[in-house]
């Protein structure tokens, strides 16, 4: 049950992509997402698909993992697809009763659907090839310039690290409490939404009390070992940019260039002329 859920999406590996600095991967993911919204037609997706294919292929993440990420939003994808197909106004193609499928509708459905799928796959790649701890270090480093403006990036990263460490503990605690209350006849499964909501109190209150007790004990333990917050703490694994990170930056620039030229219609123009001349 609880054991079945592997924490995080991380798929272990030693590929070039796995070894990239976490900061690069985070920035890349942002660039990727923004790029998806710059694309206006299907030709642009070619660049995206090639890029994704390369990343997935080299990092050796199995396709099943990638597709697993789509499972929770499967219904949203279908929903988006269907509604776009039936609701877009334009030249009608097929009429089924009072529902009309238009040419534009089909195009939109596929376009939006593809964008959604690519969005999810691309952003889940980040967590697939980066360990949570690397992510938090990366975020901390990226945010540290903001410390000058008062952002406590070290503290935030510390909170993330400690939170990650305690999630399995609290998950187990949640499981135990749920079972103990179920043994007393509590029912977390049946009833309407309001009833189920109320039934969670016997779970949440003891969970809270446990969690805060842990907080108190750990705070004392940390202070007993002279933790005083901070920027003066050293790290066990430093974060250094390597040659491959520089190469990655160049590749990102290439990607962005391709996307922008495509967005300006250059790529589709080339493709169309190629096809027409053939």
């Amino acid at each position: 049950m609880i054991r079945d859920i592997t924490l995080g999406q991380y798929y272990p590996g030693d590929s070039w992509f796995h070894r990239l600095d976490a900061r690069i991967k985070i920035i890349w993911t942002f660039i990727y997402i923004v790029s998806l919204f710059l694309i206006r037609d299907f030709w642009g997706y070619i660049t995206v698909l090639i890029t994704l294919g390369l990343i997935i292929g080299i990092s050796k993440v199995p396709l099943s993992f990638i597709l697993k990420g789509l499972k929770p939003i499967f219904f949203i994808i279908i929903f988006t697809f269907v509604i776009n197909m039936f609701m877009t106004k334009g030249t009608s193609l097929i009429e089924i009763g009072f529902l009309t499928i238009t040419k534009e509708g089909i195009r939109n459905a596929f376009f939006m659907g593809t964008r959604l799928v690519l969005l999810i796959i691309g952003s889940s790649l980040l967590t697939l090839i980066t360990k949570p701890i690397q992510l938090t270090d990366g975020i901390e480093k990226l945010l540290s310039p903001l410390q000058k403006f008062g952002l406590p990036s070290h503290e935030l990263a510390m909170m993330m690290t400690i939170a990650l460490r305690f999630i399995p503990t609290l998950m187990e605690e949640t499981d135990k409490i749920m079972k103990a209350q179920m043994a007393r006849g509590a029912d977390f499964e049946s009833g309407n939404i309001m009833r189920r909501a109320k039934s969670l109190i016997p779970l949440l209150v003891p969970l809270f009390i446990s969690a805060f007790r842990i907080a108190q004990d750990l705070a004392m333990a940390m202070e007993a070992r002279c933790y005083r917050g901070g920027s003066h703490r050293t790290r066990m694994h430093g974060m250094k940019m390597k040659k491959r990170d520089a190469a990655a930056i160049l590749l990102m620039i290439l990607y962005v260039t391709l996307i922008i030229t495509q967005a300006q219609g250059i790529l589709s123009f080339l493709m169309m002329s190629l096809i027409q001349s053939a």
């Binding site: 988006t80 969005l119 949640t174 109320k198 805060f212 705070a219």
Partner: protein, 158 residues
């Protein structure tokens, strides 16, 4: 205000938020979006450490969820704004669950409309999310707030 206990309270709130999101997963991700862990948005009533705590909790649970970075940034941003709002309204317990309903409704609703292209009008997206939040924050969060009143001691920061 920034002492170790504050840090740890925030960390455990973040951990609890994520743990609940994962354990009650079928509820949390997916179309209905009744995130039980959103009930924890009442915690600013008890401790200011809940502001970074909820923010980090949202961040972390999105890190390990299949949704990805958009949710991570926007969702966490909304949670942060909401937490500050709840903290500011902490004198009136009935209003404490309100900021998350509004903030998440607007931010996540807009995200669903603009980014995920959910084909419903904008206000419908916003209302849909707000409804899920309402159930979590007022349906579960508010009673939780009342129950925890007896245990105020554990929230002390000194």
């Amino acid at each position: 205000m920034r002492n170790t206990k504050y840090l740890l309270q925030a960390a455990v709130i973040a951990a609890a938020y994520s743990a609940l999101t994962i354990v009650l997963m079928p509820f949390s991700y997916g179309i209905m979006q009744v995130r039980v862990s959103e009930a924890l948005t009442i915690l600013p009533y008890y401790t200011p450490a809940a502001i970074p705590g909820l923010f980090v909790g949202c961040l972390v649970s999105n890190m390990i969820s299949p949704y990805g970075i958009l949710d991570m940034v926007l969702g966490s941003g909304a949670t942060l704004i909401a937490a500050v709002g709840s903290y500011l309204l902490r004198k009136k317990s009935f209003l404490v669950p309100l900021p998350p309903v509004i903030a998440n409704g607007i931010v996540i609703g807009s995200m669903l409309y603009y980014a995920y292209a959910v084909p419903m009008p904008l206000f419908a997206c916003i209302l849909w999310v707000a409804l899920g939040e309402l159930i979590a924050c007022y349906g579960i969060g508010y009673p939780l707030l009342q129950y925890l009143k007896k245990y105020k001691k554990i929230f002390e920061l000194h």
